[in-house]
Amino acid sequence: MIKLLSKHPGALIGAVIFHLLIIALFILSFDWSEKPKGIEAGIPVAIVLPEANTLEVPSSTVKAEPKKEPSEKPDDPGEKAEQLKKEQQKLAALATIAATEKALKEKRKAEKKLAQKKAEKLKLEKQQKLKAQKLAKAKEAKQKAKQEAEKKAEKERLIQKQREEEKAQEEADKKAELDKVEAENAAKAEEEAKAEKKRLEKKAAKKRAEEKAQEEAEAKLEEEKAEKRRKERAEARKEERRKEKLEEEKKAKKEAKRKAKKEAAKKLAKEKAEKEAEERKAKERAEKRAAKEKVERAERAAKAKAEEEAKEKAEKAAAIKAAKAKKEMAKKLADKKIRDESRRKWEEAQAKKKADAAAEAKKKAAASAANKASSDKARNGALNSWGSKVERHVRRHWEQPASSSGSVAKVRITVSNSGYIVGGVKVLSCKGPPAFCASVKEAFTNAEPLPRTEGKYRFKNSDRTFTMTMKSN
């Protein structure tokens, strides 16, 4: 509770004020002052002491009547009158007493009232005074509490200030530390920079030296190149001169050649002319010869013609003979061909027959195989369809228990033709809580009768046996 109050200063102040108020009221409830006298005691009824003059008023109750002595004398009129007078006086005195008493009573009453009023007034004043005192005390207490609160606040402020100062000091120290570290780092960095600079300078110097060396090398290279170029130029000039020389020699040769050619051409022309002449001569001779040959040719031709005619005749005869022979041969061949042809056709027909029969047989076999395949396919399809129906049917009847997520089971069952399970549900494996494994078995028993297989296919028990994996959601 103290911790809670310390978190809420307003509440703490209020609590302190409240407690102080209670203490004040408690203290004030006791009458610490001396017992007041008379009216101050707050006694509502004032005790009024009788005044001096009232003491002398004879009280009608106290008055003792003098003993009346019996008169020895008989009633005397004078005495009677005196008695009457006395009685009258007595009565008057009594009346006076009564009036005085009444007046006294009224006075006492009035005084009593006055005293009462006074007492009430005093009481009121006292109450007011008490109230004022209480207020003053409360104010004082409040003031005190306020002061205490202020003191506490001041203390807290001081503490806070101290904390802040400490914090500032810490931060300053930290900063100083950081600065120190920074300075160290800076110095380090500077040193490193210097070292780096030195290194760079070294590097630069090295580079310069290298460059210088390179320049020198290049210069040397340049010189060598220039030298080389000079040499090359010299050689080129030499070569040029050599070429020029060669050129001149060539020219000379050419000239010589031309001259030789010219002479050759001259010679050629001369030869040509001689040749032509010879040719003319030869031509003439040839003409003569040709003519001679022509004659001879004609003779020969005639001879040849005659021979040829004879030859033609002979050839014709031979041709006719050959044609005849050929014809006979052809006929023989044709006959043979026909015979071969018919034999071939017969063989072909036989072969075709055989092939047809084989094809037919093959076709039948294929058709039979296709039928079987389609029948098997339909049968398998029916089996798969039935399996899907069973799976759907069992899934709808399977209520997985709570908190079985991730569980898996594998079961094997055989279903009879009427849809009932033969030999019970065989759980091959089950990974999950016992409730899940039990629910897997129940799913099948609850789902009976399972969908039936189609009647046209005669499924064996082995066909109606399957393994099912059951996984929870």
């Binding site: 129906k389 049917h393 899934r395 709808r396 009847h397 209520e399 997985q400 228990p401 709570a402 908190s403 079985s404 997520s405 009427s418 849809g419 809580p433 016992p434 409730a435 129940e442 028993t445 609850n446 009768p449 399972l450 969908p451 039936r452």
Partner: protein, 429 residues
Amino acid sequence: MIFTTNIIAIRKSIRNISLLFFVLFSSSLSAELQLSISKSANDGIPIYIANIAATIPGGHSGIIEADLKRSGRFTIVDRAKIPNIAPFGGTLNAVAYQDIADYIVRGKDDGNGGLSIELISTSDNAKTNYQITANTNPRRPAHKAADQIFEKITHEKGAFDTRLAYVTVINNASSKRMFKLFVSDADGYNEQEIMSSREPITSPTWSPKGNELAYTSFELNRSGIYIQNIFTGAKRLISGRKGSNNAPAWSPDGSKLAVSLSFTGNPEIYTINVSSGALKQITKSRAIDTEPTWNGTNSIIFTSNRGGKPQLYRVSASGGVAQRLTFSGKYNSAADVANNKMTFITGNSGAFHVAIKSVNGGSGKDMLSNGRMDETPTLAPNGTMVAYTTLRGGQNTLAVVSDNGKAKQFLKSALGDIRYPAWSPYLHR
């Protein structure tokens, strides 16, 4: 003589009041709750229900369809898929509809409120007949039929012919706030007021016979546990001890109430003998132990923060060391147990959801709700449905979800907030 006459007059007036009350309870009143199905069963057993006409809204077939759908295990086949089906008793080759439904239901009202039902399997044409007698509540024969169909197909006892008790708060924000304890059919119809009070009523619980409710009431300006007969209205105070008297739970044999009392300083679990009032302390710790629920006759499951945060614990009904049941999540409370299943509230990232797990299984749980502030779950006696309150549109609404999470229904009251639902046991009358 005068005294005797007065006694007789008092008895007569009590008799008249109870008779009036009984008649009011048995007769059908117009439903005050609105129903809406939010999620239909997916991949459930397809079942076709032929129309069974009746004078009640939706007919018998409508009630049977809604019941089976609410269980989350069935898919109702549209009637248009089998038009012109032969009527009840007529020839039907059900096998021809194998691809449409697994089962076909036909029925007939006998004119006196009784019901005849045929359940036909499309895999082998097997037919099962049921005869349901009439009831003063004309909706009950259809619920009983739904129970029979459910049991035949799923091999689990049906719980559609049961009741719900709950508290409705009317004019919650005003000075005229009223608390009313209601009982209705499990589908929200036929709502009957049991009692009303200007002071809070909480935690109703059913007796095993279904004829009494125990609840906490503040009608004497402090908490007290009362037992009231819902038919006669007779009521008695069971515990009005100093401190809190809270969270009664009836034992399965009906002999005791498990309660949470704090007269010794902090809330502990006690059992009170209903007949003799004998008190037995079950838990003793410095923590808050509350919200007891029976797990069979021999053990009690309760909420305790002895581990730092509210978690569920199990203790023997005769007392002893409590064993912690929930370890996942920082907040688990408000358990209810039925048919080896336990539903409870689990805290998750500032929201509170309804979860379900096997009582004897592992630590895993399935979440059934996704509201921000779901509370006070209660299980149907066969453990297949959970009713709980959820904040919807600024109002506390009653929701019913199947234990597999596939069907959910909301029951909104036109009167006000609905709180503290309690599912009745199987009915005997």
